[in-house]
């Protein structure tokens, strides 16, 4: 007997206005464990706004949004790096581990830093990190509590080719253990093969496309 995969997030008729401006409407999707939904669309189409609605940071103006994952099992990566520049990389991670109530000692935290290629900079102040290093520290923070649902807003920002490959590998590993991923990307050629489904926002109301990733062609999209 097989069990249906656990539903992690669902949106039905979701809509959002900024003042009189319609950002998106009629957004519908379901995300189950292990799935990856790629959010596509031009700048200003409302991709980041949709992610914030899903995270509960801002309310939706229409429709319903059900996220079956609590904050303790949610990993959110936004446009900011969420680091304390005056603290070292290790101290940053130690703080976030305590905030999440994770019993990780310094050796375990150093391993997490090594996994994002920051072993040599673990004791350096995070303020001295480059943008890419800060983003890798941010990734280590997001994956610290092995989240069940990952909301990633352009996670590849500032990363070089090797770090981007590391990011892809980490997301793949998270999906293998059952995490669901909603991922905003502007590098569709690179990231599309990782996705199960695509939701393309048009910036003009209803989504331009929602369906399997295999059937999505950015050129055919009117957005």
């Amino acid at each position: 007997m097989t069990h249906a995969p656990r539903q992690l997030a669902a949106a039905r008729g979701l809509g959002k206005f900024y003042g009189p401006r319609l950002v998106f409407k009629d957004v519908q999707f379901t995300l189950t464990a292990g799935q990856c939904l790629l959010l596509a669309g031009p700048n200003g189409a409302g991709k980041s706004t949709l992610l914030k609605v899903l995270a509960g940071l801002i309310p939706a103006d229409a429709g319903t949004c059900e996220v079956q994952v609590g904050h303790d099992r949610l990993g959110f990566l936004g446009h900011v790096t969420c680091i304390y520049p005056q603290l070292s990389g290790l101290e940053n991670l130690r703080f976030w581990a305590k905030v999440h109530g994770l019993p990780l000692d310094d050796d375990a935290l150093r391993q997490r830093l090594a996994a994002v290629h920051l072993a040599d900079a673990a004791d350096d102040r995070a303020g001295t990190y480059s943008r890419g290093m800060a983003q890798r520290l941010n990734l280590a923070r997001v994956f610290l509590n092995a989240p069940d649902l990952l909301l990633l807003d352009e996670p590849g920002t500032g990363l070089d080719a090797a770090s981007s490959a590391l990011l892809t590998k980490t997301i793949r590993q998270a999906r293998e253990r059952g995490a669901g991923v909603i991922w905003i990307s502007h590098h569709l050629e690179r990231d599309l093969p990782e996705a199960d489904a695509v939701l393309a926002l048009s910036g003009r109301g209803a989504p331009a496309y929602h369906g399997p990733a295999s059937g999505y062609t950015p050129e055919a999209c009117t957005c």
Binding site: G70, H71, D72, V80, Y84, F95, V99
Partner: protein
Amino acid sequence: MLRAALIIAHKDLRLLVGRSSGLVQAVLLGLVLLFLFSLSQAPGQRLPAQSAAAVFWMASLFCEILVVNALFFVEESQGARLALTLSPMPLQAIWLGKALASLVLLLLAQCLFLPASVAFLGQSFSGDVWPALAMVLLADWGLVALGALLGALSQGQAARESLLSVVLFPLLLPLLLAAVRGMTQALGGPPEPLENWFMTAGAFDLMFTAAALFLFPYVYGGDA
């Protein structure tokens, strides 16, 4: 919630004391204020105890404002607020952590302001010190409780948030009046019963704490 608040407070104290970011300016501002008031007196002249107490609390208030601004700025500079608000800890724990860190820093600053008041304002602790110390603790909690709420407000960019700060600021006046009365006695001012002032300070402490616990999630939660 207390455990989470202590984690926040510990991190903030590390940032502000260990790395001296923000604390030095806050203490210097208070000390400069005390020194400037000393210049208003003729050589050998002694400021009345009540005036000296008022100057001491003004220095404490301005110091507190800079401290809470620094405490909340550390969450804004690289967007750590976003991760904090999405963490499993209750949002009130952030307020409590900031208030506790702020209390420690304010008490540290006041440890410098007290001898500076003696040196610059020609005061001596010839009165009853213990009630004054109790009043300092009561008044400090009220300052940091409301200060941590105002600090969260001050990080917003919308005009309504600035307006709220202006509206809430006068709420501190009764607490400061009670604090000045307590300190006046310690500095050898005319004795008077302080029971009513203690009750006033206690009542405002409770009110500020309750208001902060209720309002902080609305002020600090949501889109960072």
